[in-house]
């Protein structure tokens, strides 16, 4: 074979990686991690991996988070009761001890925790209008702390608007990635 090989004839076959996405949040490049306490609301209802959270005041000397309402603190790397944790030592562990692992800073993840439908259609009822994710679009946390391309603080008329950009779309949800959203985290 001549060197360098003709374009397209010889390359690393990234397409054959066959990544098994068995968790809500798959990490490609890790950000900074913090051990945090979760508030009673989160303990009662649970959360998926990739859930956006924000800081909340606590009566104890613990750094405590709750569901993001569009504000940024970070995202939780593991869900409270993911299927991949069943029948392992992690089963219900975070809920029992009231702790979680929050990630902030620059990283690259693939997650199923993102908004599927526009804020307006979710609020107004059916029909639901799908959000169209395109590469390199800014990402925010929605009013319930899921990744979205909409600034829901502005759309809802919140005095906290505008939302901080928390990431960039690195890969759109599609068949070959099991409809996970690729996120480059930027905060």
């Amino acid at each position: 074979m001549p060197f360098p090989p003709p374009t397209g004839t010889f390359k690393i076959d990234f397409g054959g990686i066959d990544l098994i996405r068995s968790r809500d949040c798959v990490v490609f490049v890790k950000g900074e991690t913090f051990e945090v306490s979760v508030d009673p609301a989160m303990l009662a209802s649970g959360w998926p991996g990739g859930q956006g959270v924000r800081w909340v005041n606590s009566s104890t000397d613990n750094f405590t988070v709750t569901y993001s309402d569009g504000r940024f603190g970070g995202y939780l790397i593991w869900g409270s009761l993911e299927s991949a944790d069943q029948y392992t030592a992690m089963t219900g562990q975070q809920l029992v001890y009231g702790n979680a692992v929050m990630v902030a800073g620059r990283g690259l993840i693939s997650t199923s925790s993102y908004e599927r439908y526009t804020y307006a259609s979710r609020l107004g009822g059916p029909p639901f209008v799908p959000l169209v994710y395109t590469a390199s679009t800014p990402l925010f946390f929605s009013l319930r702390g899921l990744w979205t391309i909409e600034d829901e603080l502005s759309l809802s008329g919140s005095p906290l608007a505008p939302a901080l950009q928390a990431g960039v779309v690195a890969q759109v949800p599609k068949d070959v990635n099991e409809f996970f959203l690729g996120v480059q985290t930027t905060l």
């Binding site: 374009t7 990686i17 620059r106 395109t134 779309v169 890969q171 759109v172 480059q184």
Partner: protein
């Protein structure tokens, strides 16, 4: 002897397109076919590109949008006659830098957008310490908002990617732009 370290006499050998002073995060990425054939300098700004048939994190030249910048050029003079020669375009990968780096680079717009596209004499861009930088329409660091200047419907470009630390000066830094990246 005063005991003061003569930092000004550091004599950094700038033999690459990007010289790193402080390192931050790196992300290995696949490059698209246009970058594979066209090549790129170290410090090239890139943006994410989606391939519907491939589960791959892939980038292409930035058009003002952010993804990061590529640390190493596709065919730098320093890579000749070594094992790294054309390694990246051959295997279609690159190393993308994100976060707060401090670098010195040749990959910045030397001349204003108007003078580059207007056909007249080239007018040098003026870089000022502390000034915010964007990516140009071809992914080079620049102080100008080329979305606004080109009438791009996405204007204004408020995606700030870096700050100037030291402007390019031939006698001090071999005409490299020293900057702190931000995103």
């Amino acid at each position: 002897m005063s005991g003061v370290s003569p930092f000004f006499a550091n004599d950094v050998f700038r033999t690459r397109d990007v010289v790193i002073f402080v390192k931050s995060k790196t992300i290995p990425v696949m490059i698209d076919t246009s970058m594979q054939t066209g090549g790129w300098p170290g410090g090239q700004g890139v943006t994410w590109l989606d391939d519907p048939n491939n589960d791959t994190f892939q980038v292409t030249y930035s058009d003002g949008r952010f993804g990061g910048f590529l640390l190493w050029g596709s065919n730098e003079a320093s890579d000749q006659y070594i094992a790294y020669y054309k390694n990246q375009p051959t295997y279609r990968f690159a190393v993308m830098a994100v976060g707060p780096w401090v670098i010195s680079t040749t990959t910045f717009e030397q001349y204003t957008y108007a003078s580059r596209t207007g056909g007249g004499p080239l007018v040098p861009n003026v870089y000022t310490p502390g000034e915010k930088l964007r990516f140009s329409l071809r992914g080079y660091f620049t102080p100008e908002d080329e979305w606004t200047l080109s009438g791009d419907p996405r204007a204004p470009n408020e995606i700030f990617v870096a700050r100037v630390i030291q402007p390019p000066v031939p006698t001090i830094n071999n005409n490299y732009l020293e900057l702190q990246s931000m995103m």
